[in-house]
Amino acid sequence: MNTQFKDLKKLGDKVNACTRCGFCTYYCPIYHETREEGNVSRGKITLVQEVLKGNLDLNGDLLEKLESCLLCKTCVVNCPSGVELDKIIVSARADYVGHKGLPLLERIVFRYILPRRQLFGWLLRLVARIERVLPRSDRSGMIRHLPEFARGLGRGRNVPRISNRFLRDRLPSVIHPPRGVPVRGRVCFFAGCGMDYVYPQDGLDSVHLLNRLGIEVVFPHDQGCCGVAVMLNGDFVTARKMALETARVFESCDTVLTGCATCGATLKGYRTYLGDTAATQYRLDRLGDKIKDINEYIIDVLGMPGQTFQVRPEFKGMRITWHDPCHLGRYQGIWEQPRRILKALPNVEFVEMPDADRCCGMGGSFSITHYELSQQIAQKKADGIRASGADLVVTACPGCLVQLNDIMLKNGLPQQAIHIAHLLA
């Protein structure tokens, strides 16, 4: 048998737990649209088993199937046999990369750009310049329409502009609570690329929200990208480097907060995939233990009652609804905390949208490689938002924000999606 599948082998017999019952076909957003077995958990597991048996080559054709997964974990949490498809997929991708290497573009982005925050920053500033000439999708001009030549990133996609001032350029190293507010704690803040480069206002709002609660926030300026795309696409070597660098940057912190569900899940998730030695595992475990999502921190750690908060004046009188990012709910088990905050807010009415926890279809790079499919999936969210009667969609993930705002604009819906930190006054 092949010795090459070392990451899949680590899962041992768990790969054989699938009973082919097909419950996953009910939950998989991709299967809903395509009805193809290769696009659902059951089919993918069959393929992986065939690879391990030696009946199938781990080649490009198969990789395409492995890439056609949102890693939303809806199948995982509903599987009667407890099959963890996300681990199987990521391990298979890692084995592929280990055996065949990365495609050229990914190699350049993952190995040479993402880990180098200054280079990455400069490239993004360049892109920001270019974005200025793109047609506006909304009145504010904050969202632009991708031109035909960039259709590889998503034909007709509405994208938020890269900010002209990154979060890292707007924050000092330590941000203190306002005068008169007693300091009750100290945390470090991990921004992530979304908040750093695209939604710095949400980053500021997150930090200031914490300040108002008496929390002193430390912002290490040498922090970088969490590397989720690198890790989940199977480049464990680079991901490990980025993870250990992040661990180093936050070494002296006890608690690291993030406002991005994906970053949070990833920082907590390094320990699952990247521990190759006992020493590395230890460091990644330690880092993982420090990470808290901002909603989790406010409710579980600070024990704040929901009544603590108000909404900004521009949101008063609105009907609001919450979208559960996959990385917050299914990955981190954080469901109730944001709802407790939102339901207790005065001057707004909270409604649940149908299928609030359904994946928005972004899936990070999935929405680049499978834009049309990702839009079909997003359409279900737009339908849910419409049905909810809400004026505003609140969530805690920049990735979801991009996707939700794109699909709502496409549907001509008047709602917008915002980060919870921006909602709260």
Binding site: R20, F23, R35, P80, S81
Partner: protein, 456 residues
């Protein structure tokens, strides 16, 4: 293969409806005996009866067998043809019509039960059968396999809900059989023949379903017993009620232990046996029925009875039970199952003998099924699979089959089992019937297109 297909078909199938790549075909590998899998040459997704007929024509011309498939919630049964193409009905999934006044729905075979249930509920209707795969199975699959489940005591098995269908025979003819009404005796009743024919006679392309009014609400009782036999007798009693439960099921000791170990939200007691029964309808009737059922359960020795007073609170119970049954077929156990049905009043005798067999061979035998209708799907759990275990399993299965036959029942091998031929365990067809079955197969599928080698 792809080019061949698009050339041959007229009207052609869309490019996205034909999969011929290695990975795609492998993902549709179907099981044959002994856990071996067979990879189809291609997978096609016809959208209408004409396309189905064209694929069957292609099959005739090339000799490549066709294996129909719905949601794939139950594995392919029987031997695999030397070459095969999987025909998935998953994309033929329109709900054509919901006729509220006549309580009939006309649906295409790929409609999942979940989607059908939602659409029917909006019209205050429902389809009574409640198989294990109650969300994901397709209507076509349910019809072709004549699925049963906990509702079958009161509502019958799937064929009781099929009034008629549109069919493409193995020979390629598109025909309407059965009726849109309760009765159509112009000619022979073919619709019932097709239910349970497992795709060997024709491909179902449209089904007329008999519906019921959606009950206002339901009450579910969860009764805990000390022994399986007690629970079995309780089920017997409930089955004999003038107004039997709408859903009835047993959860046996092995399954309870398994659920306690593996299901985080397990609401069932960890030992003994449980009877789950549901009565549905308007409040006053439901309450009276529930009281009556409670009395019966108590008189049979239930040590505790928990009442779930509405549908929502009880659904989790049924779902967890179904999930447990699905998970039972874990790939890492060597599990052997068979469909065994006996006259209802022999159920307790059967369960008693199965317990003896389980002790004799030191093999856990868990009873899925037994919803008071006399249909059992006992599962022999062999954990871990070992050579000696395999022999013990064969012996146990042989003893169980003998038991069933001696009680006047029938055994049909549902799953490929350790290389044992299905026919070996079935009661031999009464003289003459075998010939009739073969003739029927020849009439519907003269070229042996559908699941060649599977039956007759």
């Amino acid at each position: 293969m792809t080019t061949q297909f698009s050339d041959t078909f007229n009207p052609p199938l869309a490019a996205e409806d034909v999969l011929a790549g290695e990975a795609d075909c492998r993902s549709y590998s179907y099981e044959i005996a002994n856990g071996r899998t067979h990879r189809p040459e291609a997978v096609v997704f016809p959208r209408n009866a004409a396309q189905v007929a064209n694929v069957l024509l292609y099959s005739r011309q090339t000799g490549i067998g066709i294996i129909p498939r719905g949601a794939g919630t139950r594995p392919f049964l029987g031997t695999a043809p030397p070459r095969g193409v999987v025909m998935s009905l998953a994309k033929m999934d329109r709900i054509v019509r919901i006729d509220k006044g006549n309580r009939i729905a006309v649906v295409e075979p790929g409609v999942t039960l979940a989607r059908l249930r939602q659409s029917l509920a909006a019209e205050a209707l429902f389809l009574p059968p409640y198989p294990y795969a109650f969300e994901t199975a397709t209507v076509g699959g349910c019809a072709a396999n004549c699925t049963g489940g906990p509702a079958s005591l009161k509502h019958g098995v799937f064929k009781q809900n099929v009034l008629g269908m549109q069919l493409v025979t193995g020979g390629g003819a598109i025909m309407e059989i059965g009726a849109y009404t309760m009765k159509n005796v112009v000619g022979y009743e073919l619709s019932t023949l097709l239910c349970g024919s497992e795709g060997t006679l024709g491909i179902i392309t449209r089904i007329n379903l008999r519906l019921a009014s959606l009950p206002a609400d339901s009450q579910t009782l969860m009764a805990a017993f000390d022994t399986l036999i007690q629970a079995g007798e309780a089920v017997q009693t409930l089955a004999e009620l003038e107004n039997p439960p709408d859903r009835l099921a047993i959860i046996d000791p092995w399954m309870l232990t398994w659920l306690a170990r593996h299901q985080p939200a397990d609401p069932f007691p960890p030992q003994g046996a449980v009877v789950l029964c549901q009565t549905a309808g308007i409040e006053s009737i439901m309450a009276r029925n529930a009281d009556y059922m409670r009395d019966q359960l108590e008189s049979r020795g239930a040590r505790s009875i928990k009442t779930f007073s509405n549908t929502d609170s009880a659904e989790t119970l049924w779902q967890i039970r179904a999930a447990g049954l699905e998970a039972l077929n874990r790939g890492d156990h060597a599990v052997t199952t068979a469909d065994m049905s006996i006259p209802r009043d022999k159920a307790v005798a059967l369960m008693t003998r199965f317990e003896e067999i389980s002790r004799r061979y030191d093999l856990p035998i868990t009873n899925t099924g037994h919803s008071g209708s006399g249909v059992f799907q006992p599962v022999i759990v062999s954990d871990p699979p070992k050579r000696s275990r395999t022999n013990a399993t064969r012996q146990a299965l042989a003893d169980m089959s003998d038991t069933v036959l001696s009680l006047g029942g029938y055994v049909s091998m549902t799953y490929p089992c350790l290389g044992i031929e299905r026919a070996k365990f079935n009661r031999p067809a009464p003289a003459g019937l075998d010939k009739v079955f073969k003739s029927l197969k020849a009439v519907f599928d003269p070229y042996g297109t559908l699941k060649p080698g599977h039956s007759f």
